[in-house]
């Protein structure tokens, strides 16, 4: 039975057009006991983790999805004849980092932290659907406020915003950098 269930879940994730959440899987498989579904899902994930498969089951943007194993990237690029995927600019990354940690946030607040005007970058990020407008602030000028999107999580392989490094982690990294500097 459990083997069946694993297979079913695998099939569901395979056809899903977006990361498939555990809730949705349980909803579809309502005729099975919830614990069993949960167990089958965990087993499936382990199967993919332990066997040396070309495909992994990744947990990203709150759901499950199949991706290729990162190590095999060179072969895939060879087949598709793609030298390298285009990356976000440094400005885009900084702006995203600020939005991710301070959302909801306005354009002028972003500019204040970066020390440079960021409207162009915000526009690019909107086009890439990595951020979205969630409303306006009721302060003078009624500026737009921005948030990161699901696609943002997917792009960076984050399961949720909680996956972002915490304040403590950042502080630790900063310290490490300081030590490096004094030593060098």
């Amino acid at each position: 039975m459990s083997e069946d269930l694993k297979g079913i879940i695998e099939a569901l994730i395979f056809v899903s057009t977006e990361p498939l959440t555990a809730e949705r899987i349980k909803e579809v498989l309502a005729d099975f006991p919830e614990e069993e579904v949960e167990r089958a899902l965990q087993e499936l994930k382990q199967n993919y983790d332990t066997n040396n498969r070309g495909i992994c089951l990744q947990q990203s943007a709150g759901g499950y999805l199949f991706t290729t194993r990162p190590e095999f990237d060179p072969w895939i690029r060879r087949m598709l004849q793609i030298e390298r995927k285009s990356r976000l600019s440094q400005a885009a990354l900084e702006t995203l980092a600020i939005i991710a940690y301070h959302q909801p946030i306005t354009s002028s607040e972003i500019a204040a932290i970066r020390g440079v005007d960021s409207t162009g970058t915000i526009k690019t990020l909107l086009e890439k659907k990595l951020i979205k407008i969630v409303g306006r602030r009721s302060t003078p000028g009624r500026p737009l406020v921005y948030r990161t999107t699901e696609k943002f999580l997917l792009y960076f392989g984050l399961n949720s915003l909680e996956d972002l490094p915490s304040e403590e982690e950042i502080a630790r990294l900063l310290e490490e950098k300081d030590i490096e500097q004094t030593e060098s």
Partner: protein
């Protein structure tokens, strides 16, 4: 990021800095200064030296750098002025605003480098292109492409053709007008044109180039619409119905 690289070359261009805060952090690091107790006179001199190296200041891009220069000079003057009360509490240190800004920006730099790592890691994972039959046309996420996407599409094709070892002695001459007519005729026969396929069907590089220029021209003339369903995929071309009747009718 490439911090070591930056330090090695003394002549660093202003362009590589994301903004005045980035430059300040770099200068502080170079002199191994304590961010909480920056000697404003020293850092201002360094900072101005940097700006001075720049021949022409592009106000659009470098206005923020100048603003920071003005702020540093202001800070310096504040520090020189005799205080009325000799022992003020720390918060009234005129540098505090700058220190806070630098600390905050330092965090941004750290987090964005972490995001960069995540991006790299994730880019090595490939997602299965989602089953197109499972999507109806309305659900397709359509993005209107810009010239860069078109150029990228063309580049993709060229990459593919590269390995085919083409040998063309002399291709037939194709005029822009003729090709444009050909594309429009094709679009009248079929609703959608897969542009990458179309480029592939061209006999020679010259012809593919002409076809590509034609598409650019047609997009510019607003005779056709070019759509890309998602990044790094082929571009689909539609006829603009409204224009067609005007132009040809």
């Amino acid at each position: 990021m490439e911090a070591s690289e930056i330090q090695e070359t003394y002549q660093v261009r202003l362009e590589i800095f994301e903004g005045p805060l980035d430059l300040l952090l770099f200068l502080i690091k170079k002199r191994k200064l304590n961010i909480h107790d920056i000697p404003i006179a020293v850092i201002t001199r360094d900072y101005l030296d940097y700006l001075a190296r720049k021949q022409n200041i592009n106000l659009n891009r470098e206005a923020e750098f100048l603003l920071m220069a003005a702020f540093l000079i202001y800070l310096k003057s504040q520090m020189l002025l005799p205080r009325e009360q000799p022992q003020l509490e720390e918060s009234s240190d005129p540098r505090q605003v700058l220190v806070n800004q630098l600390l905050e920006y330092q965090k941004v730099k750290i987090t964005s480098s972490l995001l960069r790592q995540k991006e790299e890691e994730q880019q090595r994972r490939w997602l299965r292109p989602f089953n197109p039959t499972a999507l109806s046309l309305e659900e397709e996420e359509i993005l209107e492409v810009n010239l860069f996407d078109l150029a990228e599409c063309f580049y993709l094709l060229m990459k593919q053709k590269e390995n085919e070892n083409f040998k063309i002695l002399k291709g037939r001459e194709v005029s822009l007008e003729k090709k444009m007519g050909e594309i429009l005729d094709l679009l009248e026969k079929q609703p959608v044109l897969d542009f990458l396929d179309y480029l592939k069907s061209q006999e020679s590089l010259e012809e593919a180039l002409v076809a590509f220029f034609c598409l650019l021209e047609l997009v510019r003339a607003r005779l056709v619409i070019a759509f890309q369903e998602s990044l790094f995929q082929t571009i689909k071309v539609w006829l603009r119905r409204d224009r067609l009747t005007e132009e040809r009718g």
